[in-house]
Subunit: 133 residues, 2 copies
């Protein structure tokens, strides 16, 4: 996704496109896995404060730029959402291997329940083929 896309979203929302926000965006774009706050902060050390990373990620969530991914590690992870897309994962708790599963039940659940779904999580944890032995 182009940087200009996210700048547009912020402009439309009437918030400033600041240095910390660009840095967090860069970090998330460079990553190929959902990042924790600590990981984002590490990729941005001495450029943006930890509190700013938190505030930025929360803002991005409100703006629909990032999505929270729950791996049950005791903290959250975040990934960019590109044009209405997002992923769901299966994680090996032994070796950390992460696989994308191409399923999303959003539409099905909206129809089935008559809810307007605003967010959802659907993540699996277990042992990959190698680690299961």
């Amino acid at each position: 996704m182009l940087m200009s896309h996210y700048i547009d979203i912020m402009k439309k929302a009437g918030v400033k496109f600041t240095r910390p926000r660009k840095l967090v965006l860069d970090a998330l774009q460079a990553a190929k896995q959902p990042l924790s706050i600590k990981e984002i902060h590490k990729r941005v050390r001495n450029k943006a404060d930890l509190a700013s990373v938190y505030r930025t990620v929360n803002l991005f969530q409100d703006l629909g730029i990032v999505r929270e991914v729950q791996f049950g590690e005791g903290y959250q992870r975040y990934e960019l959402i590109g044009e209405g897309q997002h992923h769901h994962y299966v994680l090996c708790i032994e070796c950390g291997k992460l696989e994308d599963i191409d399923i999303c039940l959003l539409d099905r659940v909206e129809k089935m329940t008559n809810f307007k779904i605003l967010s959802h999580s659907m993540e699996f944890q277990g042992l990959c083929h190698s680690c299961a032995g």
Copy 2:
């Protein structure tokens, strides 16, 4: 699920069936929704310490007696698992309405990914029909 079922599990695991553990079990059995630690503790006040509630719930998780439910509230919820069963939910963030969705992708994901899945979360948050307007 019968209390004896859970007692058996604890016996097999070689852990004691103590008063706090019975209290937490009772609270979870009486509940018709996943409970937070705070809610369990409230239902058990002056009978079991908060730390014991935490320790008990963690033990029950290890024993496969309870399952963590993630509603993204900033803390965890727990529900009893009866004989290989568990639920997935859609939650209205406005009025708190909770609906059970009768879908589980465990088997499908295990086959698709060749992982041995040990835990998973699949919860949806949004607005129910009344609250969406």
